[in-house]
């Protein structure tokens, strides 16, 4: 009698996302790292036994993967597909409810400045990077996709990114990811991932503790300015510097 096949499962996935504790846990894991049940309990602000039940459900549904390591159990997003799903849900959530109570704490401010989005860079820094690459004609943007130009291939190669690796043929794997704080796209996909990794390797950014926020190092501020034309004070300043 059912007219569709996957509706039930859509509802099941939705129900998993529809709990605030689980949403918090997944958001924390969107940072890209693997976290223990205890850490996730801290993020979700519930007790370990509660989070344990959630983890069982999320893992059974295939949203999370478990890695055992001694007496620790590390949970991470099961696949980039899951990350992309969370991205798109977050994008819709951010777009739909703009006029919302905005407490905007200082940690929020750090998140808005720069953060990881699974495996790439988001926040003002992420959007600024995307803008810079568009401005210097390295990438082309559309609502549904992005492409790396020939000039962009050279620019990124000079920056130290190995394009040939995942690029059987040119001009792929560049995807826009709608930034929920900036409401504008930053770079996801293979290019976004490699770009972020390169910035980590260069010591331009580093993860902050207990949050998805990224700190831009002095070297990074210089590099972003010189190579990408990103002015540290205008786009990257954290307002009242420091808090967490």
């Amino acid at each position: 009698m059912s007219t569709m096949i996957s509706d039930v499962t859509i509802a099941e996935i939705g129900a998993l996302l529809g709990d605030s504790a689980r949403a918090n846990m997944l958001s924390a894991l969107m940072g890209g790292g693997a976290l223990t049940a205890g850490e996730l309990a801290w993020y979700a602000r519930v007790t370990p036994q509660t989070v344990s039940g959630h983890l069982a459900k999320l893992t059974a549904a295939g949203l999370l993967a478990l890695e055992r390591q001694g007496r620790h159990r590390y949970y991470r997003l099961a696949s980039p597909l899951v990350a992309q799903m969370l991205e798109s849900v977050g994008a819709v959530a951010a777009i739909q409810c703009p006029p919302r109570h905005r407490p905007s704490s200082r940690i929020d401010e750090a998140l808005k400045a720069a953060r990881t989005c699974y495996d790439h860079i988001a926040g003002r820094l992420g959007v600024a990077l995307a803008d810079a690459l568009v401005a210097n004609a390295s990438i082309l943007w559309s609502e549904d996709g992005g492409a790396v130009t020939l000039h962009g291939e050279k620019f990124l190669a000079d920056f130290g990114i190995d394009l040939a690796d995942a690029m059987r043929q040119r001009r792929c794997f560049c995807r826009p990811c709608l930034d929920w704080s900036e409401r504008r796209p930053h770079i996801a996909g293979a290019i976004g991932s490699k770009l972020a990794r390169r910035c980590f390797d260069l010591g331009w950014i580093r993860r902050m503790k207990d949050t998805r926020a990224l700190a831009i190092t002095p070297r990074g501020a210089e590099g972003f300015r010189e190579l990408f034309g990103i002015a540290a004070d205008s786009t990257l300043a954290e307002r009242k510097p420091k808090a967490a």
Copy 2:
């Protein structure tokens, strides 16, 4: 005290998706058309007063848009962003739970053969079209994005698609959408939309009643075979040949 901004809203969107009646309604609207409350009640198999409550919530959340027309009220997905979110949730749902009870009714079979996915073509036909365009080097695929080649621009233009329209610069707007029945990507984005529209305009496909399934006309079978090399019997037949 919250470490994130949008978590709550992610949970809210998830909760909206997490109800089977609402999931059915949204799936029905993924067909791309606008439907009345009564029709949605039929799809969701609940009473009109129940669906009314759901519609109020979905509209308030910005997932649906309402168009008044006389004494009818037509609801449709509020934006392509919403469609893309549903796509990605469906993709995760389809991937995660492969070994599932598969009643596989005949209407399911029609849906698997060819259906609309918001504004583009999905099912075996959609995947076959994507394969054909990849095979003749019209598009390039990667997990995160797609691109139209120079040759593809010509091929699609010859097919009657106005590329210059949405194409400020070339090679964009081609996005893979993971097909939940085939587990392989079909073409979404601006190209996918225009491709579908052109097939409708040519009378190659038409919508079937009360379902998202598409019927391939005799003319369409001929056209798909001659222009895209898609053999009607092997990929489009509604039999049970069970391709793997």
